[in-house]
Structure formats: structure tokens, C-alpha cells
């Protein structure tokens, strides 16, 4: 499995898609000047922009690299030569997953460091009203990392089901978009006001989707980082456990499906 992890990382770093996406990191250089446009909250804006940029890059990486890594192996018939080696399919798949996860972690560490530097510069020039709490910032980046690792899991699960490129990529994007609103929609549907408007069929559907789709809203700590608001500790713990459980289900399902898949 470690061999697969290593190969995965090498593959990503030599991938044109990765190199293309990482060019976006150049945008960090523009954050200080963009943030100074704000009159009242330069530091806050620089934090916002940094976090958004990190999130955006991680999103692109997890969708495109996560969803294409298995697909590419099958499309280019690498699987024949690799799966026929003395390695179990689950090691192969989990190796891929951990490789991608490790890559996401590495990227967010590097981008996070760049972001912190940018924020440090901004807060040095324009001291904010509330001092930046670096711990919250690290926490926000950390949870964003977990979020995108989970998304990689979704992408891998989808690519074990499908032979095409579309389901993994667009499925993952849809899952990401949906996961941001499930919480709101779920709460709305279950609120007493909605009772009269919502059709009886709609409510169980939403509830089912709510439990089925990943709930990524819990991983969003941007507000806490930007305005230095202390996050709820037990909530964070719950979120981490949620991540572990959901990822375990995803990877368990993916290995089961991949284990039975015919390499024609």
C-alpha cells in the first residue's frame, strides 16, 4: 500500500492538471493589495481571501485529481498491470485514497503557510480591531482539509461505480454543492412553517438526502477564523468523528465495489 501511496503522490506532482491548478496559488501575491481595498476590515478581508483561495484550490484538486485518478488508471489500462501484481484491490484503492489524502494535507500545509504569511503582512500594516487568533485560522484550514479529503472519498467511490469520467467529476461537484445547503434545506423542511407548503413526499426525500449526502457545512470554520470567534469544542469533536465515520463508509463501500469489479 505504501508503494501505491508513493506512486500516487509522484503521479500527482507530475500531472499537468496539478501544475495548472497550482498556478492559481500565484493569486496569494495579490491578496494584500486586494485586501487593502476594504476600508474597515483589511485583515479580515485578507483572511477571507486567503481561506477562499485555499478552499478553491483544494476543491479543484480534490475534484479533478480525486475523480480522475482511478478513471485514468482504467482508461489507460494501467489497472491491468497494477491490479495483477501481488497486491489486494483494497490495498490498491486505499493506497490511492491515502496518497490523495496525504497530497491534500501537504498542499493545504503549504498553502496555509503562504496564507498565514499574507495575513501576517496585512495585519502588520493595518492592525485589526480584534487580534487574529492563529489557532482558529489553523483550525479553519485543518477542517477545510478534512472536508476536501472527504470529497476525495466521494470521488473515489463514484469512480469505482462508473467507467466514465463524467459521473465521478460531476457527481463530486454536485455532492459538494448539495452538501453546502443540505443543512439549511433540512431545517427549513422540518420547521413548522414549511409544514403547509411542503408536499408530504418532499419531506422524507429531503430527510433521506440529508442523511445520505455528506454534510460539509460543519467543516466550515471560516467565520470563526475571520472574526476570531471561539468555535464550540465538542462540536469540533463531533465533526471529526463525523469525518471518520463518513470516510470509513465511503472507503468501505468503494473497496467492496472495486473488489468485485471486472477488469475487462
Amino acid at each position: 500500500m505504501f508503494a501505491i501511496i508513493q506512486i500516487t503522490l509522484k503521479g500527482i506532482f507530475r500531472d499537468r492538471v496539478f501544475q495548472g491548478i497550482m498556478v492559481l496559488a500565484v493569486l496569494f501575491l495579490f491578496i494584500p493589495s486586494a485586501a487593502s481595498l476594504s476600508m474597515r476590515q483589511v485583515t479580515e478581508l485578507s483572511i477571507t481571501l486567503s481561506l477562499s483561495l485555499i478552499s478553491f484550490i483544494l476543491l479543484l484538486l480534490s475534484v479533478f485529481l480525486g475523480a480522475t485518478s482511478l478513471w485514468k488508471d482504467m482508461e489507460r489500462r494501467y489497472t491491468f498491470s497494477v491490479v495483477s501484481l501481488p497486491i489486494s484491490r483494497s490495498s490498491y484503492l486505499l493506497g490511492r485514497f491515502f496518497g490523495l489524502a496525504l497530497f491534500i494535507v501537504l498542499t493545504s500545509v503549504i498553502l496555509g503557510a503562504a496564507g498565514c504569511l499574507v495575513i501576517k503582512i496585512c495585519s502588520g500594516i493595518y492592525p485589526p480591531d480584534r487580534p487574529v487568533v492563529w489557532g482558529y485560522l489553523v483550525l479553519a484550514i485543518g477542517f477545510a482539509t478534512l472536508k476536501y479529503i472527504l470529497l476525495v472519498g466521494v470521488a473515489l467511490l463514484l469512480s469505482t461505480v462508473s467507467t466514465s469520467f463524467f459521473l465521478p467529476v460531476f457527481g463530486t461537484i454536485c455532492a459538494f454543492l448539495a452538501s453546502g445547503v443540505t443543512q439549511q434545506v433540512y431545517e427549513y423542511v422540518n420547521s413548522p412553517i414549511a409544514l403547509q407548503v411542503v408536499s408530504p413526499f418532499f419531506k422524507p426525500t429531503v430527510t433521506l438526502l440529508y442523511y445520505l449526502l455528506p454534510n460539509l457545512a460543519g467543516f466550515d470554520l471560516n467565520v470563526n477564523a475571520i472574526y476570531s470567534i471561539a468555535p464550540d469544542q465538542s462540536g469540533l469533536l463531533l465533526t471529526v468523528v463525523y469525518f471518520v465515520a463518513y470516510t470509513a463508509i465511503l472507503m468501505g463501500g468503494a473497496t467492496l465495489i472495486f473488489g468485485h469489479r471486472e477488469m475487462k
Binding site: M1, A34, L37, S38, L45, T48, L49, S52, S88, S90, S91, L94, Q183, Q184, V185, E187, Y188, S191, P192, I193, A194, Q196, V197, Y211, N215, A217, G218, D220, N222, V223, N224, I226, I229, D232, S234, G235, L238, T239, V241, Y242, V244, A245, Y246, T247, A248, I249, L250, M251, G252, G253, T255, L256, G259
Partner: protein
């Protein structure tokens, strides 16, 4: 199949994940539901970033911003209706910011204007902000009678600028093709007609409200104003018969001018100010903890 010693079999992984998920999802859901409201409204990047990011989907982004605010507001109203105290002041500023962003992305988004008008005036009392927003909208939605109608109402009811209000009402009347708004303006553009003006306005708003949360909000307010009107009518009758202002609402009740006891739907108690103006202890808003 033989597995690597580092690995647990996939079905076991799947099952333990599911088990953990089932154990966890209850507390996790309740944690998410009870997350403080400000955090739930979330942080939306500034318009400078949002505009280029939404590329050719500006209308969609705008609609989703409005949707976000409506969901948030819906949650608040339902909590208030259930009688639980709202934990924090509603983030009116945040709502306003989101709606402003929405109309800058899509200046034609009527939901945003309609919604902003609702809470910026009664709840936030930011009349200037509300009117500026309406003026901005009127530049784009130049066929829409509702925006000048709202603006007219704001000027008449809140700002007491009757001349300006008449101007807006006239425009609303021209656009709608009804003379009703002009006549409405004429009838109520004076201090004494305020309550009826509000009732008329709320009736109009209610007719157009298809969002339940918004509807509920207007209904509550309408009920309150209808009660106020009843008290005002009793007060005026008292004044006509006795030649002086009554001392209190209780006096009107005791002496038979006011039949059923007026109920404030916001949970407050009506009283008469020394000038004779009807007021309530709830200030026409649900109680919040921080107040």
C-alpha cells in the same frame, strides 16, 4: 482473498463506519441545528470577489444569496412562533449585506427588494438604507409599481415626509394603472391616518407573499396593527364623547369603549402614551434574550 495486515476487510470497514455514523448523526444534527445563528448565516465573500467568481451565473448567485437569507429568516420566525426565545439578535446587518450583494449581482432580483423592505424597515429601522436600495432597484425595474409603492410607504409611515411619499405613490399609481395608490396617498398622508396606512400596506404585502416565513411575519404585524386601530377608534370615540383623552387602555375597557381585551401578538401589553398615541411594551417585536 488475503489482506495486508494493515488493512481491515472492506465490509468490516463499511459496517463500523455505518455504526459510528448512526451513533453520531443524532448529536451531529442537533449540533448543526443549534449552531449560533451568525455562524449559520455564514460569511459570504465581498462583492468584489463574488462578482468575478460567479462568472456568467450572476443571477444564480444572487438568487442563492436571497435564498440563504430567506432560509435563515424562516428559521428565526419559526423559533419565535414556537415561543422559544431567540438566542441572539437576528443578524439584520448580515441579512442586509447579503441582500445588497444579491442586487448588485442581479439588480432585477425582486425577492431581494421585497425581502429587504420587509425587515430593513420594521425590524432594523434603517429607513435610509431601505430607501436607497429601493431607488437603486427603481432604476432597473422601471416597470414595477411595487418599488415606488414601498418607497412611498416608507416616506409616509416612517419618515413622515408626506410630499416625497406622495411623489412615490403617484409613480406607483401611474405604473400600476390604478388610481388606488394615489387616492390611498391622499387619504392617509397625515399623522392620524398612520395605522390605517400600515394596515393597507400590510394587506397589500400579504397578498403578494408566497413565502411562509414572510407571510407569517406580515400576518403577525397586521394583527398587531388591527388591534392598535381598535384601540385608536375607541380612544377617538372616548374623546368625542367625553372631550378629553382617556388615561389608559384599561380605562377604555372598563367604560365599555373597547370590547374584547386587545391582544398583542408579539406578547406585549398595549398602553397609551401621554400624547394619546397607542404603544405596546413589545415594541412590535418578539422578545430576544439579549434585549
Amino acid at each position: 482473498m488475503k489482506y495486508n495486515k494493515f488493512l481491515i476487510p472492506p465490509h468490516l470497514l463499511c459496517l463500523s463506519g455505518l455504526l459510528l455514523y448512526c451513533l453520531l448523526i443524532g448529536p451531529f444534527t442537533s449540533y448543526m441545528r443549534n449552531k449560533p445563528i451568525e455562524e449559520k448565516l455564514g460569511y459570504v465573500p465581498s462583492i468584489k470577489l463574488l462578482k468575478p467568481l460567479s462568472a456568467d451565473q450572476k443571477e444564480l448567485t444572487a438568487a442563492s444569496l436571497v435564498f440563504k437569507v430567506m432560509m435563515y429568516f424562516g428559521g428565526l420566525v419559526s423559533k419565535a412562533e414556537q415561543g422559544t426565545l431567540i438566542e441572539q439578535q437576528p443578524d439584520l446587518q448580515g441579512m442586509s449585506r447579503l441582500l445588497h450583494n444579491a442586487v448588485r449581482l442581479d439588480p432585477y432580483n425582486m425577492d431581494a427588494y421585497y425581502f429587504a423592505q420587509g425587515f430593513l424597515t420594521w425590524d432594523a429601522r434603517q429607513f435610509k438604507v431601505a430607501n436607497d436600495l429601493l431607488d437603486y432597484g427603481m432604476k432597473y425595474r422601471d416597470w414595477d409599481w411595487q418599488l415606488p409603492y414601498f418607497a412611498g410607504f416608507n416616506h409616509a409611515f416612517f419618515l413622515k415626509e408626506y410630499a416625497k411619499a406622495a411623489e412615490y405613490y403617484k409613480r406607483a399609481g401611474e405604473l400600476s394603472g390604478y388610481d388606488m395608490y394615489k387616492s390611498l396617498a391622499g387619504r392617509y398622508l397625515q399623522e392620524s391616518g398612520q395605522t390605517e396606512l400600515a394596515i393597507g400596506y400590510l394587506h397589500g404585502m400579504l397578498r403578494n407573499a408566497n413565502n411562509q416565513a414572510v407571510r407569517q411575519n406580515y400576518q403577525t404585524r397586521l394583527k398587531a396593527f388591527q388591534e392598535v386601530l381598535r384601540i385608536e377608534q375607541a380612544r377617538d370615540q372616548f374623546k368625542a364623547e367625553r372631550g378629553g383623552l382617556p388615561g389608559s387602555v384599561e380605562q377604555l375597557l372598563q367604560q365599555g369603549y373597547l370590547k374584547p381585551v386587545p391582544v398583542d401578538p408579539y406578547g406585549g401589553r398595549f398602553y397609551l402614551e401621554p400624547s394619546g398615541k397607542v404603544a405596546t411594551t413589545s415594541k412590535f417585536a418578539f422578545a430576544t434574550k439579549n434585549k
